[in-house]
Symmetry: C2
Subunit: 248 residues, 2 copies
DNA sequence: CCGACTTTGTGCAAACGTTCACAAGGGCGT
DNA sequence: ACGCCCTTGTGAACGTTTGCACAAAGTCGG
């Protein structure tokens, strides 16, 4: 299974790892542009983006030869090329489902609207929230998922609901025609192939941090693997062993 | 540079990619436990976690041999082992800086407090917000960063401020002794070595989705690489070419 | 016009991650 | 006690990602 994608401009294909870094480069490039910097070297860009400069050059080389040897990269030109590669030169209506704190944070997020993304609608299932205004959008009812997707040609959906309703919302988004989903609910979504799901999970990131933090603090503990109270097999041998599939 | 870490229980080392998946397994395991499932096979676990079962087995094998051939894994036992490996058997006080929508969402996030993480304090620099109560916490002033870190032994900090103040907050957290940072601000943080930073970036995830969505829609466009208005070199040849470093 | 200097773009090798396929090992029925 | 069946744990092959090191290619001063 090759992870490479075929570029629209006829070039070979761009590694997934590179794609994940392009948005970072883009942000840094915008920062340079705002300071009226006309050209940057790969070293400067890499330092600002927090990556190795060889990696950055290889990443950019996948888009084409847009640098000038001995000089560097033209900031505006590179902004354009990266944006184009990422598909940000077109307008992406985004449907946000769930208007809790997280949905509100998303709707208010500045970097959201600024780079080609537009909040198509903000929906919630709580009648008390429906009708209120958030970030200039009147919150709609969750019933409108299908109509909003159809009417506005939404292809990207954001799930900011509690875990309990996430799969439901996901199913409805997919049925309505959404093919890209950004999931903030702390659960694994089940989608048919052809639908692209990315997840953002606050809890997972914290746990990864905790692991490394623990690694730093317990320089040497060596408990001899003690700590589990009893023989695992006999611990709770009762309870139905029913071979259920995925727990809800 | 090896990406492997040395485990506390004396085992060899766990790949970073595995660490990133352990929290997912843990969540799925909790779901099984709540359904009173006593044992699961690697196939069931893998399906629920959305990964290949061989990968799951290899991941778990890094923690030790906690499965039983012919049977599977004891759910509770595995929950314990994974939790221990991740360092979740201890209490982690977490300091959240920034009480906007995102900070509020974090403070209210259930999965936050449930697995060993505890909100040590929620701070903000806006005088109008300081003193209000959010999720049972009185919002404190950003001045208290140092005292909260010191008094509560905080080692994990969460930055949920606007990009403009993120580096400032980060510097103060680090100076106060925080060694793990979860950054929600859309910018690259600069930290001394020894400090672990993870970022969660809404905009980046959306851009990655947009790339793949674009790939699906433009099956064949082939614009012949036109689209840039003019010769890049002459486009905005004015503006100071001063070799500034990283733009603020 | 030329030579020195700078920076890009890339071949290559090593590190890392994923997947297959199967031997090793344990439970369970008889 | 024994053999069948199931599932784990892992060796080996393969694909992906990283980073070094350097040739290619451009600028700039004289």
């Amino acid at each position: 299974m090759s992870r490479r994608t075929v570029s629209a401009n006829g070039s070979q294909g761009i590694p997934e790892a590179t794609i994940a870094r392009l948005p970072v480069y883009l942000r840094v490039l915008y920062a340079f542009a705002e300071q009226d910097v006309a050209t940057v070297s790969s070293d400067e860009l890499a330092a600002a983006a927090g990556v190795n400069s060889a990696k950055l050059r290889k990443d950019l080389s996948h888009l084409g030869s847009y640098g000038t040897r001995g000089v560097g990269y033209d900031v505006d030109y590179l902004v354009y090329q990266v944006s184009r590669e990422l598909g940000l030169t077109q307008d992406w209506p985004v449907l946000i489902v769930g208007a809790g704190n997280l949905g509100r944070a998303l709707a208010n997020y500045g970097g959201f609207a600024s780079r080609g993304f537009r909040v198509a609608a903000l929906l919630d299932s709580d009648p008390d929230v429906v009708g209120t205004e958030i970030a200039g959008h009147a919150v709609g009812s969750a019933d409108q998922i299908e109509s909003v997707v159809a009417r506005q040609g939404v292809s990207i959906g954001v799930i900011a609901t509690p875990a309990g309703s996430a799969q439901d919302v996901c199913d409805r988004l997919v049925a309505a025609g959404v093919t890209s989903i950004l999931n903030f609910a702390p659960m694994v979504l089940n989608v048919p192939s052809g639908v692209d799901v990315r997840k953002v999970d606050l809890s997972i990131e914290l746990q990864i941090l905790a692991f490394h933090a623990q690694r730093r603090s317990v320089v040497r503990v060596d408990t001899g693997d003690r700590g589990w109270p009893d023989d695992p097999a006999t611990l709770h041998a009762t309870s139905d062993v029913a071979g259920r599939g995925v727990p809800a």
